[in-house]
Amino acid sequence: MQDLDLLSIREQFNKEQILLCFNGPITRSLIEEIGNALKNYLQANDAEPSAAMDVFGTYIEMTQNIRHYATSKGYTEIEGAATIVVARHDSTHYAILAGNIVEKEDAQLLSQRVEALASMDKAELKAAYKQQLRKPRDQSATTGAGLGLLDIARKSSKPLNANLVDTENGKTLFSLLAIV
């Protein structure tokens, strides 16, 4: 901890125009608390209400996806930890980057799914979203509606970008970057 160069971290945050950064176990109430902080930052940043809602919505879908994934795998709080960064991208856009540890085989599937979404245009994404919305709900699933990634892709102004990094314990850090 003594070696931690807080000044360089601070300078990097400033340089990248990072509004918010979080790393650790994420609970339902934390998602809400951080979300409220994010809303306040965006308001203080004079973000347009529609832009603020896109950022908030993307953040919610990403973090709830992470929670659902951790629950479905029976992960502990630590294993299900999330790393979230929200930054300004340019004068009208924001970048939302979120990562979590996933199983290697899931990382490949997720990455393929993101690539497929990244290749679709807005009309195709809307059609896919509506189709997924109409799918009967899996009664045993206590998770979401399978719409999160589609929704994020629809909100994004650029194709989604997924990144995979193998960790030492045989798992993968999956991260998703959205520019909204």
Binding site: P49, M53, G57, I60, Q64, H68, R137, T142, G144
Partner: protein, 101 residues
């Protein structure tokens, strides 16, 4: 219904509302009008909301008087887009109304 909706398990959260709407439509023959002022909804809330609109649509097709009034803040066009997408699948009276207050 008003405000933001983003519970993790929306189906559980909306279940009581869905049941209420379903019972109301089954057991009574009064008209049903939903007054909405929803702003942000996560995708699982959207899915639950669609279940409610599907119930209204089915009742409407059987001749029941049902309607939706969705009020929005004109400064936020995302709410209009959200409401419009629901409206696309509904044939009953679905009004999207600017709330100037």
């Amino acid at each position: 219904m008003a405000g933001d909706s983003y519970p993790e398990n929306s189906f559980e959260f909306f279940n009581d509302v869905i049941e209420w709407v379903s019972d109301f439509l089954d057991q009574l023959d009064k008209p049903l009008n939903l007054e909405l002022k929803l702003i942000y909804m996560n995708t699982s809330s959207v899915k639950a909301m669609m279940d409610i609109f599907d119930l209204l649509e089915a009742a409407h097709l059987k001749g029941r008087a049902v309607s939706v009034n969705w009020y929005y803040d004109p400064r936020n066009e995302r709410v209009i887009e959200l409401a419009e997408e629901f409206k696309e699948d509904c044939t009953f009276s679905f009004m999207i109304i600017p709330d100037e207050k």
